[in-house]
């Protein structure tokens, strides 16, 4: 499974429709000056994965809707993540499946999920991700800004749960 692109609409600092990508199947670097919106890219991904607002540096989900001087009119935000399932055989990459997962939030705090463009439940979305081995229980795939040092400082019993969970 790999992430092809992240499509955003009025999400955090991304006013209007923006496409982040296409991401490399191997190693993509996101670069730019302080405050330009790099970490917001990760927030967009986590938003779609169903993380709660505090993990996205917002107190409530509607705070994720773009809001700046002269653009206070945004009534909703939406993020769609485009995935591809690749098979690598004999140095050849072949796309086996493509799907997209989306999520929207309105000013009234109404949140909807989408699977391949159609309305779905959060459960549908997380099930799809888990089917492809995305570790949504321990979030091992994710290191947020400022968090890397404390991963090794995990309490001994927390490490244990980690391991048991992986069995």
């Amino acid at each position: 499974l790999c992430i092809k692109a992240i499509e955003t609409y009025n999400f955090k600092s991304y006013y209007g429709r923006k496409i982040l990508g296409p991401f490399d199947q191997k190693f993509t670097a996101i670069i730019g000056p302080n405050g330009c919106g790099k970490s917001n890219t990760i927030d967009a991904l986590l938003f779609v994965f169903g993380f709660r607002s505090s993990k996205l540096r917002a107190h409530k989900l509607p705070e994720l809707i773009h809001n700046s001087d002269g653009r206070k009119d945004c009534s909703s935000a939406k993020v769609t993540v485009h995935f591809a399932v690749m098979r690598t055989e004999a140095e050849q990459n072949e796309q086996v499946e493509a799907f997209s997962i989306g999520r929207s939030i309105s000013k009234s705090n109404k949140s909807d999920y989408f699977l391949n463009g159609a309305r779905a439940t959060q459960h549908d979305v997380t099930t799809k991700l888990r089917e492809h081995d995305v570790d949504l229980d321990h979030n091992r795939f994710l290191i947020l800004q400022g968090e890397v040092e404390q991963i090794s400082l995990m309490k001994p019993t927390a490490k244990n749960e980690h391991e048991e969970g992986m069995l």
Binding site: I3, F27, I30, M166
Partner: protein, 164 residues
């Protein structure tokens, strides 16, 4: 069940040693059950021996040493139970130049069996990426684009030569 746990534990422990040894150029790492007779209850302790140093608990390490320990653990766990992609935000903040280069190269090698999307402010890290996405803010609105390889080098030189 305990046997299964011990089996996977040993796989991860072995991979952790190897990965930490590589990232630190000669250090050693270990996972030790806090209480050998109650592995499940008391948990697992993570200790390292940086190259040419003595064994220490992670809490006694410097910022950069902790970062390398964390990354070794993440990569060891991946070997045991892979996830399809990794998203990492400024994991190089506490690393000196040499370690940024070492980690960057290691990520590039690992990228053959997982997709890496890494946010970084450090050229030694991002110049090892296959592709670069540049993000800029214009009038409070984020603009984003895929950078051609010479465009991103131009950004890097501009940043390095930055006059206040």
């Amino acid at each position: 069940r305990t046997r299964e746990f011990l089996a996977s534990f040993e796989v991860i422990q072995a991979k952790l040693k190897k990965t930490y040894n590589y990232l630190t150029h000669g250090g050693d790492a270990d996972l030790m059950p806090v209480n050998n007779t109650n592995i499940f209850g008391d948990g697992i302790e993570f200790g390292v021996r940086p190259p040419n140093k003595s064994w220490k608990m992670i809490s006694n390490l410097s910022g950069g040493e902790k970062t390398l320990s964390s990354l070794s653990l993440i990569f060891a766990l991946h070997h045991y139970k892979p996830t399809p992609f990794y998203i990492m935000d400024e994991i190089d903040a506490a690393l000196d130049y040499r370690n940024v280069t070492i980690v960057g190269k290691y990520v590039k090698d690992r990228a053959l069996d997982a997709q890496f999307i890494i946010i970084s402010l450090r050229p030694n890290m991002y110049q090892q990426a296959c592709r670069h996405i540049g993000i800029f803010k214009v009038n409070n609105v984020t603009q984003v684009g895929l950078l051609a390889s010479d465009a991103y080098k131009g950004w890097q030189e501009g940043a390095l030569a930055a006059k206040p």
